[in-house]
C-alpha cells in the first residue's frame, strides 16, 4: 500500500515538473494578484500593511483553486483513473497521494514565497513569519476541501467554474482563521495561538473529510 502511495506521489510530482505541469503556475498567479493590489490601492503603506495578510490569504486561496480542476480530471480524461482503481490500496490512499503531491507543488511554494511577497504589501518581519506559519498550516485545508470539488467535477468538461462555486464557501472558515491568526501576530487583543490552533484543527479535519469525501465522489462517478 505504501509502495502504491509513493509511486503515485512521485508520478504526480514528476508530471508537475514537466512541460504543461501546474507546478509554477500557481506561484506566478499568486505573485500577479499580490502585485496587482498595491497598484489598485495606491502607495498608502499603512493601509497596505494593515490589509496585507488578507491580500496574501485571498491570493493563496485563488492560486490554490487555479489548477485544482485538473487534479482528477486529467487522470479521468486519459484513462489513468481506471488504472488507479485497480490498486490494492483503497481509493482514499490514491486521493491522499494526489492531494499531497498537489499541495507540495502549490501550497508549499506559496507559503515559502510569502515573505518575499510580504515586501510588496509592506509587512513587518513578524507579520511575514506569521504569514509563512499560517499559510503552511492553512493551505492543506484549502487543498483538501478543493479536492472534494475536484473529484465531483472530474467528469465535467468545463468543471473549473463549478468547482470554484462549490468549494469557495467551504473555504471561508479557513480564510477567517488564517487572516485573524496573521493579524493577531501583529498585535491586538487575541493571542496568536488561539486562531492559529483553530486553523490547525481545520486542516486536520479537512484532511480526513476531504480524503474520504473525494474518494466517495470518485467512486460514485462513472
Amino acid at each position: 500500500m505504501l509502495k502504491s502511495f509513493n509511486a503515485l506521489l512521485v508520478r504526480d510530482l514528476k508530471l508537475a515538473a514537466r512541460v504543461g505541469g501546474s507546478g509554477v503556475m500557481g506561484l506566478i498567479f499568486f505573485l500577479m494578484i499580490v502585485t496587482l493590489i498595491p497598484f489598485a490601492l495606491g502607495p498608502d503603506l499603512n493601509l497596505l500593511s494593515r490589509i496585507g495578510p488578507a491580500i496574501l490569504w485571498i491570493a493563496a486561496l485563488l492560486a490554490t483553486l487555479i489548477g485544482l480542476d485538473r487534479l482528477f480530471q486529467a487522470d479521468q480524461e486519459d484513462g489513468s483513473l481506471d488504472l488507479l482503481r485497480l490498486s490494492h490500496a483503497p481509493l482514499e490512499i490514491v486521493v491522499l497521494a494526489k492531494v499531497i503531491a498537489y499541495w507540495l507543488v502549490t501550497g508549499l511554494p506559496l507559503a515559502l514565497a510569502a515573505p518575499f511577497l510580504g515586501f510588496l504589501v509592506a509587512l513587518s518581519p513578524e507579520a511575514m513569519l506569521a504569514m509563512v506559519a499560517t499559510l503552511l498550516v492553512g493551505t492543506p485545508a484549502l487543498t483538501f476541501i478543493g479536492a472534494v470539488g475536484a473529484a465531483l467535477t472530474s467528469s465535467l468538461r468545463r468543471g473549473g467554474l463549478i468547482l470554484a462555486i462549490l468549494v469557495l464557501p467551504f473555504m471561508i472558515p479557513t480564510l477567517i482563521f488564517g487572516v485573524s491568526a496573521a493579524n493577531a501576530a501583529l498585535g491586538g487583543t487575541i493571542p496568536f495561538m488561539t486562531p492559529f490552533l483553530v486553523l490547525v484543527a481545520l486542516s486536520l479535519i479537512a484532511a480526513v473529510v476531504g480524503t474520504v469525501g473525494a474518494a466517495a465522489a470518485l467512486r460514485s462517478g462513472e
Binding site: K3, S4, N6, A7, L8, V10, R11, K14, L15, R18, V19, G20, G21, E77, D78, G79, S80, D82, L83, L84, R85, L86, S87, H88, E222
Partner: protein
C-alpha cells in the same frame, strides 16, 4: 481461480443496455466478446473492472484469497491510461510500482512489444499504435490473473497483432484468464465466445423496468 458472471444487466442513463449475460471463465480460458457498436461490450468490461455499477446479476470470484476483483485484473481500455508527459519507461515503472506483484522490468516489457527503442521517448511523441503497445506492455509489468481488453487490436499493425496474440497465449498457458471485446478475430486457441445483444428499449409506459429485467430473456 474462477470468474463466474450470472445474469448480468447493465443500465446507463436509465436505459437498459443489456441483460441476462452469463459466462464463466476458469484458469487458462479466454473469452471473446462480440456484438454490434453500442451493444455494451465496453460496458460489460467496465462493470468487471469496477468502473460501472451493474444493474442486476452477480459477479463471483472463486479461489482469489482475500483479493477483490479489481485487484486481480488488468484493464486496457480505449483510453491508454498513459501520461503523455512521461516517457514510456516511466509510465511502466509507475504501473509496476503502483499495481504491486511486479513481473517483467519496464525495459523487458517494452522489448516484448517491440518498443525498446522508444523507452526514453515521452509518450506524447508516440503514434496511436505505439501508445497502444505501451499500454499493452503494462500487462507484462505486474502479475494479474485476469486481463480485460477492450478492442486490444485497434490501431495495431499485423505484426503487432501477432505479437499480442503470442503474449495472450503465453498468459493463458501460465494459467491466466482473458476477456476481450473485439470486432476483428484475435485467433486465440479455442476461446469461448459470447455475443452481446442490445436490449430493445421498451416505451416508458410499461413502467416496470426493474421487474421486467428479472423475468426477461435469461
Amino acid at each position: 481461480m474462477r470468474l463466474s458472471v450470472n445474469n448480468l444487466a447493465c443500465e446507463r442513463g436509465e436505459r437498459r443496455i443489456f441483460e441476462g449475460v452469463s459466462f464463466t471463465l476458469s484458469a487458462g480460458e479466454a473469452l471473446v466478446i462480440t456484438g454490434r457498436n453500442g451493444a455494451g461490450k465496453s460496458s460489460l468490461l467496465d462493470i468487471l473492472a469496477g468502473r460501472l455499477h451493474s444493474a442486476g446479476g452477480a459477479i463471483l470470484l472463486d479461489d482469489a484469497g482475500e483479493r477483490a476483483l479489481p485487484e486481480c485484473l488488468h484493464y486496457v481500455g480505449h483510453r491508454d491510461a498513459l501520461k503523455a508527459a512521461l516517457t514510456a519507461e516511466e509510465n511502466l515503472t509507475f504501473a509496476r510500482d503502483f499495481l504491486g506483484n511486479p513481473a517483467l522490468r519496464p525495459r523487458e516489457a517494452l522489448e516484448a512489444v517491440g518498443l525498446a527503442h522508444a523507452a526514453r521517448l515521452p509518450v506524447a511523441y508516440l503514434s496511436a499504435g505505439q501508445r497502444r503497445r505501451v499500454a499493452l506492455a503494462r500487462l507484462l509489468v505486474a502479475h494479474r490473473p485476469l486481463w480485460l481488453l477492450d478492442e486490444p487490436t485497434s490501431a495495431l499493425d499485423t505484426a503487432s497483432q501477432e505479437a499480442l496474440r503470442l503474449i495472450l497465449e503465453r498468459h493463458r498457458e501460465s494459467g491466466g484468464m482473458i476477456a476481450a471485446s473485439t470486432h476483428s478475430p484475435l485467433f486465440l486457441k479455442d476461446a469461448k465466445e459470447i455475443r452481446i445483444e442490445r436490449t430493445p428499449n421498451l416505451p416508458p409506459s410499461v413502467g416496470e423496468g426493474a421487474e421486467h429485467s428479472e423475468t426477461g430473456e435469461g
